[in-house]
């Protein structure tokens, strides 16, 4: 699998959200997409997912321009809740099963059991931590090649965060990529292997996390501070 962003650009009337972004994402890696608010992370993810059209450049998955043909291989999970409140967890599973051929109901059921959640529970009644967990469960139960997660750790407690990290590690595809945008730089360092830093819509730096430690003697958070402290 190869996911390529070439000269990828998104311009709005008054500002450029993503500016000439070039990067090839390789198989078997978990990427972190890092940068302050407004650096273009979400817009980039939405373009990779084919949910918003670039104003310049393109995204290709295995040589195929991202669009309806690649939809089955790419999953994007936004930070906002996206279930209808009246739906039960079982309804969510049906909905996913209908929409996505690759949705593996067995995996989802197994995860629900692990989380001690029942299919009859209404999503409206779930705590934000539970909701975040269900979101990751439906995401990972799709065996997609490109998994894009926008701020999966926002507004949830430590226990839910640990559980989500474990699920991501367990189901990260060997023949695909996971891209996580997050402000929790310290927390996600150990689970990712490549960090992609963005600054004002542009690609600032790509770093191998263990290399930062081995060669520069610094953690990911230290690197983040180096790159952005002047902006804060």
């Amino acid at each position: 699998m190869e996911l390529v962003c070439r000269n990828l650009t998104k311009r709005y009337l008054t500002k450029t959200a993503v500016d000439n972004f070039n990067l090839t994402f390789n198989d078997g890696h978990i990427y972190a997409l890092l940068g302050p608010n407004g650096s273009g992370k979400s817009t980039l993810m939405k373009m990779i997912a084919g949910l918003t059209n670039p104003t310049g450049g393109y995204v290709e998955l295995n040589g195929e321009k991202v669009g309806w043909k690649t939809k089955a291989d790419i999953v994007y999970t936004p930070t906002e809740p996206f279930f209808f409140g009246y739906m039960t967890i079982g309804d969510v599973a049906d909905y996913y099963g209908d929409f996505f051929k690759d949705f593996d109901r067995r995996v989802f059921t197994e995860l629900l059991r692990e989380m001690e959640l029942g299919e009859s529970m209404k999503t409206r009644k779930l705590s934000s931590g539970m909701l975040a967990k269900v979101k990751i469960a439906v995401t990972m139960a799709r065996r997609a090649k490109v998994i894009l997660l926008d701020e999966p750790f926002n507004g949830i407690d430590l226990i839910a965060r640990d559980y989500i990290s474990k699920l991501l590690i367990r189901y990260a595809p060997e023949d695909g990529v996971v891209v996580i945008s997050s402000h929790m730089v310290e927390e996600i360092e150990k689970m990712i292997d490549v960090a992609v830093f963005m600054k004002q819509g542009r690609l600032e730096l790509v770093s191998d996390v263990e290399k930062l430690r081995a060669e520069e003697n610094i953690s990911l958070a230290d690197k983040y501070r180096q790159l952005y402290s002047k902006e804060a």
Partner: protein, 119 residues
Amino acid sequence: MEFQNNKPIYLQVIDDIKSKILSGEIRPGDKLPSSRELAELYEVNPNTASRIYSEMEREGIAYTRRGIGTFVSESAEQFDSIREETVIEETRSYVRKLKALGLSDKEILGLVEAFLKEG
């Protein structure tokens, strides 16, 4: 597990596994978890986990049997060398810390002796 900030994560996990071997929690010949399970256990990247096992094999602490899994080395020499390495590393970091606090060699020796007497 809490990771320190200035040392590669894979090395810290290896240190942790070594200390478990020394304490007897993991025994020579034991089958280790699959690398994906190891990743989940320590909540580290799956590639980091693979690297942990290949590094442990390189050091002779573990060996892999194709299709069966990774095992802790059974050789006594390996055990002794991990032990020796751990003792040296611990002593070095202890001495460094005390020196950084401004203690003289004599004071450090005195302290160690005092604690040894205390038992």
